[in-house]
């Protein structure tokens, strides 16, 4: 099983990297860009667990370590490798 995890800043949290890249994009002519949001992408693989178990473990890992609940939200997909 493989989990693909996406971490992004929560709404209302200023994203300094995203803002800087947005300014850079605009400076080279991408004027129609409204927002740039940076995040993190994490892959985890599991052996010997069902899809449901892998989802449960991934959710727990996000809550306990991977995401900071104060500033980040997360979503993930779990599928057979």
């Amino acid at each position: 099983m493989k989990a693909k995890i996406y971490l992004t800043y929560k709404e209302g949290i200023l994203d300094p990297e995203g803002n800087a890249v947005k300014r850079a994009l605009k400076s080279i002519g991408f004027n129609s860009v409204d927002t740039v949001q940076f995040g993190k992408y994490i892959e985890m693989t599991f052996t010997g667990v069902s899809k449901e178990e892998a989802e449960k473990l991934t959710d727990e890992a996000c809550r306990k370590l991977l995401a900071n609940p104060n500033t980040q939200s997360y979503r993930f997909e779990v599928a057979e490798q």
């Binding site: 949290i13 200023l14 800087a20 104060n70």
Partner: protein, 224 residues
Amino acid sequence: MRVAVIVFPGSNCDHDAYYVIKQVLGVSVDFIWHTENDLSKYAAIILPGGFSYGDYLRAGAIARFSPVMDAIIQSAKKGKTIIGICNGFQILVESGLLPGALITNQGIKFLSRDVMVKVESNSSIFTRKYSKGDVLRIPIAHKQGNYVASPKILKKLEDNNQIVFTYHPENEDGNPNGSVQSIAGIINEKGNVLGMMPHPERAAESILGSSDGVKIFESMLGIS
């Protein structure tokens, strides 16, 4: 009285903190490796600056699961004096001992320079040797020092006098990292845990440019 300086893999201000406690203040101090689990003989605990676990994932996020953190959380509950400086502050927020979070500086750059820090409250055990409104020259050295917190948390911090240090407007760029309300340091509700981004251990002797930070250690250790 003994002081513990916690050493995580990647701590790099541990020797500075040790030096200030031992050589500047003449107080007994030990380095405590992060795998230790007994801090019962220490009156005060310092979580020094650095890059614990390479700042991987988020600054402080992995250090929070070091074995010594259980002892630190228990010590905090018992009311022991704990100070987290820079990466130590990041570890304290990640572990939930202090509210809020520290994210990347507004200008994205790593900032390493002296700033002017204002004492917002001298009623804490960490600032009792200062006067309210004192302005201290203390260096910062961080990339993730931009303090964020929900309006609810901020209100609580204000109502309980938990904001002890702010970046003073006399900084050349005011608020160097974009922290909400220019927050540079906060204490927990009980008042025995302080987290701050500036490095008072680097401003403890005038030969190094400033001794403005030494009173934090004197205050917390009850040295007159």
